[in-house]
Amino acid sequence: MEFHKLPPVKDQIMKCVRCGKCRSVCPVFAEIRNETAAPRGHVFMVQMLRDGKVEPNNDVNERLSNCLMCENCSVNCPSGIDIHELNAAARSYIYDKNPSLSKELIFDSLWTRPGLLKASSKFMWGAQKSGLQSLARHLGLTSILPGDLSKAEKILASVPRQSARSFLPEYNPARGEKKYRIAYFLGCGTDLLNPQVARATVDVLTHYGCEVIIPRDMKCCGLPHIANGKMDTARKLAVHNIKIFNNGDYDYIVTDCASCSSALSSKNMEFLLGGLKIEDEAIAFSQKVMDLTQFLMEKLELKLPGKEVDDRIKVTYHDPCHLANAQGIKKAPRELLKQIPEVEYIEMGEANRCCGGSGTYSLTHYDLSMRILDKKMDSAMETAAAVIATCCPSCMMQLRHGVQRHKWNATVMHPVELLSQSLKQTPAKK
């Protein structure tokens, strides 16, 4: 759809009264501290683009791209403006006028093909294991990577050898009485970087009577594409996934990735596909999508039997923006953690403050991302927890880097991993 006709561009820009509330909640503004980074500034610049007062060029994109898309401004906007959607629409408009070969390669050729993406991660693993990465660093070869990538390649430390798709079967029968037929939306971040989370997800769901299907031909949720100005590709991916998942007779579509569930939500579907023929089909699809922790707490009404545990693990929780802001899910992951007998839950200060990861942001804006991460780590470290739990692979990657960066002896895990471990220590449910 044409930029000017997109609902947020058409209807929402005029609603901004520039009250500045967004300045007080934006993690990027807190670092850059000038109006070019204020969310209301982004709204203003999108208006200038819409009105032809500025050209859709890379200078404008550079400023708009400072935004993490954490949505904290949108949820706090008194005028109810979806600021992140305006920003995404503008990035896409600018990209269309200034296409780039590298982005085509990454987001169209690679990130739309799970096989190729897997091959790339395998290559990364190989490079890390063979010492090639260390050698490249040592020789200063990584410094020739474009932009912040020379610094950011450190974040991609320890890519696992095997992707989740390579060891998890497509069909996973329910254990005991079957309650639900679940499609597991296995996102790229979990699949390639956190396969152990995928295993835990399947273990837990099947343990609680869910038949779990992992459709082989699902593709990326499209969120990285939206953030990088590739809205058309995101639309194509969404349409593909809708067809795949609507073809199966699933009770729910569950994902352990906050970014995926937000990308597949009805709000985002409206943004991407609103006004198109497929809209109704998209909404029907998105109504089945659930975050894993929410599904466990609300649909399976998880209640773990209490038991005496001598040495409980101190666990704190970081709210992924795409879960807390985009979907308002804050309670379920905490309730889940508090139910696990082996866990001693400690709330961190400003738990819903962004970690600075935000998908590809830490790769494209490494220094800024680290400043945001350091504040998050301060809050996390104050808890003296042994585990930082979170529900987003991008946050996990960023927090792991934070743990390393601060030389802190803590592990980053998904709540479902802790639950899975606990269940293995508890007699199986009959």
């Binding site: 005029m14 500045g20 070019t36 400023r63």
Partner: protein, 466 residues
């Protein structure tokens, strides 16, 4: 002076990281929250981020020598275009200079730099059981410097007054680069009648006399308890009358807020679950102090206001207080959402009238809304007669813009006719300057003469206030 030369000189003076000069970046400094700058954004020549008095002095000296305008800016949350370089010039973004220099608890005062955020200051003061009482709605984002410039107040002005009552002294850089200290060069005292009161002259001067770089603020002990009463009225006249009854009963609430029927409708449309009763007006009384006095004043308000109100509820339990207050706290937001294809605009939004004329004023504003076919939501700080009007229009429809500007002009004239003022707390800026003669008569000229003493070249935030 040539723009490139200004840019070069500023970068040499402050370093590249403290100067914005690219056209694109400057556009972000073309607006505040005023309707004026939404219609006519105006970019500065450069934006600088000084973080010391010396840097501000250097910028001012440079501007003075080269006859370039200078405009101080806080968080840009004002509604009057006050921080906009409407004639070009250098904007000094002081919001990054946010140091709390000293919390002098034994002397009940605090020294801050202009960029400190109001809410942040009170958070720090709470550790000492102190607070800075003026409470603007923009507490989370507005700066103390901006509050000083506009003599801001807000929800609790009825009891605690405006910013000016708390400013003990200021460091001000004059437009020629000189520095003065008001309230005594070395003074740390609270009472001080020595000399002409330049502190009070500076507070509310909207940056047309100098740049405030250091603020010595008086703090008050933080109240231990609070309570809220919500009263519902079938007759509009009963609302201001009830306020007077409360005063005459010897009670000075910390806040008295009104939502007239337009605001009640707006809140109920926006959040039906709040379900405010249909009425001509709702009043919210907040009292604070020590627990027994709060209880006593609450019961007295209930008794006195209950004689006029259809119903009244008193609460001290935090959850219920929050529920009662929620209607008021979302009014400004709700106003913006009463029409799907429109937005509220900040214009004619801040008139102040005598208490006894609040009801007539609200009726007259409603009539103006009908006359122009514009939905107007009314709410505000009735305890001091400060009425906030929120016209709701499509700001991108020229016909509606034309109408609202005519209506806003009539609202401003109405305020003066009602023996009030065009602004109670938001300030004059660029948007209400035309009423200076009407409001102040001969004194307006004297104000201009005073400005010339401080700013003979007229480079200090020109086009504002007078």
């Amino acid at each position: 002076m040539d723009k490139d030369k200004i840019k070069k000189a500023l970068i040499e003076m402050l370093g590249k990281e403290k100067v914005l000069s690219e056209e694109l970046d400057l556009m972000y400094y073309s607006y505040d929250s005023s309707f004026l700058t939404k219609l006519e954004p105006s970019s500065p020549l450069a934006v600088v981020f000084p973080r010391s008095t010396e840097e501000v002095q250097n910028i001012a000296s440079f501007a003075f020598e080269n006859n370039v305008d200078i405009v101080p800016r806080g968080a840009g949350t004002g509604e009057t275009g006050g921080c906009i370089a409407i004639k070009g010039g250098i904007v000094l973004d002081l919001s990054t200079w946010d140091e709390i220099v000293e919390i002098d608890a034994p002397n009940m005062q605090v020294i801050v730099r202009p960029g400190v955020i109001h809410a942040q200051l009170n958070k720090e003061l709470s550790k000492y059981n102190l607070f800075f009482p003026p409470d603007p709605g923009s507490s989370q984002m507005c700066t103390i410097g901006g509050m000083v410039a506009n003599n801001a107040s807000g929800l609790r002005a009825v009891k605690y007054g405006c910013t000016e009552q708390y400013i003990l002294g200021l460091e001000v850089v004059l437009p020629n680069g000189e520095v003065i200290t008001t309230g005594g060069v070395k003074a740390k005292c609270i009472k001080n009648v020595s000399g002409l009161n330049l502190t009070k002259l500076m507070v509310g001067s909207e940056g047309i006399l100098g740049i405030v770089t250091r603020i010595r603020l008086r703090c008050w002990p933080r109240p231990k308890a609070r309570g809220i009463a919500m009263a519902v009225f079938d007759e509009l006249d009963d609302a201001p009358a009830a306020v007077l009854d409360v005063y005459q009963a010897g009670i000075l609430p910390s806040g008295i807020e009104i939502l007239d029927r337009s605001a009640i409708d707006a809140v109920n449309q926006f959040k039906p679950e709040i379900n405010l009763p249909q009425a001509e007006a709702i009043l919210l009384f907040e009292v604070d102090g020590n627990p027994p006095s709060v209880e006593y004043e609450g019961s007295l308000i209930k008794e006195v206001v209950g004689k006029r109100a259809r119903s009244i509820e008193w609460a001290t339990e935090p959850k219920r207080m929050a529920e009662l207050w929620e209607g008021r706290s979302i009014t400004a937001t709700a106003a913006a959402r009463v029409r799907a294809d429109a937005s509220r605009v900040f214009a004619g939004e801040d008139i102040s009238v005598p208490l006894a004329r609040v009801a007539d004023t609200l009726r007259a504003i409603r009539a103006l809304g009908d006359k122009y076919g514009i939905k107007v939501v009314n709410y505000g700080h009735i305890g001091d007669g400060n009425v906030h009007t929120a016209p709701v229009i499509n700001p991108e429809n020229p016909e509606e813009v034309k109408k609202v500007m005519e209506m806003v002009h009539e609202i401003h004239l109405l305020a003066i006719a009602m023996e009030g003022s065009t602004t109670g707390e938001h300030g004059v800026g660029a948007v209400r300057r035309q009423y200076a003669e009407l409001e102040h008569g001969r004194a307006a000229q004297l104000m201009r003469d005073i400005k010339r003493v401080f700013d003979p070249l007229g480079i200090m935030n020109p086009g504002k206030l007078i």
